[in-house]
Symmetry: C2
Subunit: 218 residues, 2 copies
């Protein structure tokens, strides 16, 4: 029965490999590239075998979407949990989100904005809502200390998501990738604008600490 355990591991590995392969295909060519035949080919499996692991193609894609989205949400959440006042944490989270999106632009574009099946898009909306909820939490917290505008936290967080995502869409979709400088500037600008929108105290520019950190890196 030790063999059974090994087998179980193999199965799990295969399952994860398929997810990975699918994610990579999406990261290379968007949803269009995630075809069952391609996924099977690169996974070293036959098409039929994929259906031992996932009920449908959409199922598989939703799984990928879920994994990546949840991970990003966790990253953001961990930033929102640490640090100084709520506004500063919010700004940091926004900056990090934007920067991270540019690590795999094609993937980010697919997960954020690329046209896709309605079922997939539904899931996408769910995870976007999820991210908004994460932001809403800090906003709620800061609001109780009067650090944020007096507007329903969920509305405010939704606007933040919009103001943060919208300017990403075009750059992410472009063939030419942004330079490091452009990306940093974009992240800073977006974060600052979101600060303006949400914060009562006018914290227009980045905190001294963050500024120092960034200039040191250059």
């Amino acid at each position: 029965m030790a063999l059974a355990l090994v087998r179980k591991q193999v199965i799990e590995d295969t399952y994860n490999r398929v997810l990975l392969v699918t994610r990579d295909l999406i990261a290379e060519g968007g949803w269009q590239a995630a075809q069952m035949s391609a996924i099977a080919g690169r996974s070293g499996l036959a098409i039929g075998s994929l259906y031992r692991y996932f009920d449908t193609k959409v199922d598989l894609c939703v799984q990928v979407l879920a994994q990546v989205s949840e991970h990003e949400a966790m990253v953001v959440q961990s930033i929102l949990a640490s640090g100084d006042d709520a506004p500063s944490r919010l700004r940091d989270a926004i900056r990090v989100f934007v920067r991270r999106a540019f690590r795999k632009p094609r993937l980010a574009y697919a997960l954020i904005a690329e046209p896709c099946e309605s079922e997939l898009d539904e899931a996408r909306l769910r995870y976007r809502k999820n991210l908004a909820d994460v932001f809403a939490e800090v906003i709620q917290e800061g609001a109780s200390r009067g650090e944020f505008v007096a507007v329903p936290a969920d509305l405010l967080s939704t606007c933040v998501i919009g103001a943060m995502m919208e300017p990403l869409i075009q750059p992410l979709a472009r063939e030419r990738e942004l330079s490091r400088g452009e990306r940093e500037a974009l992240a800073d600008h977006i974060a600052d604008l979101c600060m303006r929108m949400t914060c009562v105290t006018s914290v227009t520019s980045a905190s001294p600490a963050a500024k120092a950190r960034r200039s040191r890196k250059r």
Copy 2:
């Protein structure tokens, strides 16, 4: 040859009727409802005849998208052209855009966010960019008078579009329509948040005139 002119008119009328029918179908059931068979049926034409007027289905849909989008852009532009200082005009435009979206929620949802063919989505992005450009113009104008934040006008307008559109998506997609009060409140909140984000002078709440106008209506 007087007859020829009449014929020409008939043709043009048919063309417009098809566009209208398609728009209505989208307004009822989104892109999914805009099937060639349905369009033909309601237009009183055969499927084949549609292809005398439009090369492909996407072509037809893009045409609908273009008409509606351009019209909305004009409405916004006319508001941005009139009135007082640039910020007030911007706020009014945002409020009107939001309110108008709720006149035909299903249509607005389709034109703004509903999943669709990539070619359609491409066109959608174009028209969203177009709207951003319209906003960018006033922002540019106001910026020269120091009324707006010192950020590239196109970035600022994109963030405005995002902050304005994102909170519309869920409400527009919902089956239950928002009440008049909810819609007004949403429009005001969104506009105020965009003001905060973009304006240097803190014009947090609606102008006295606008407030009076609205309270009189209730």
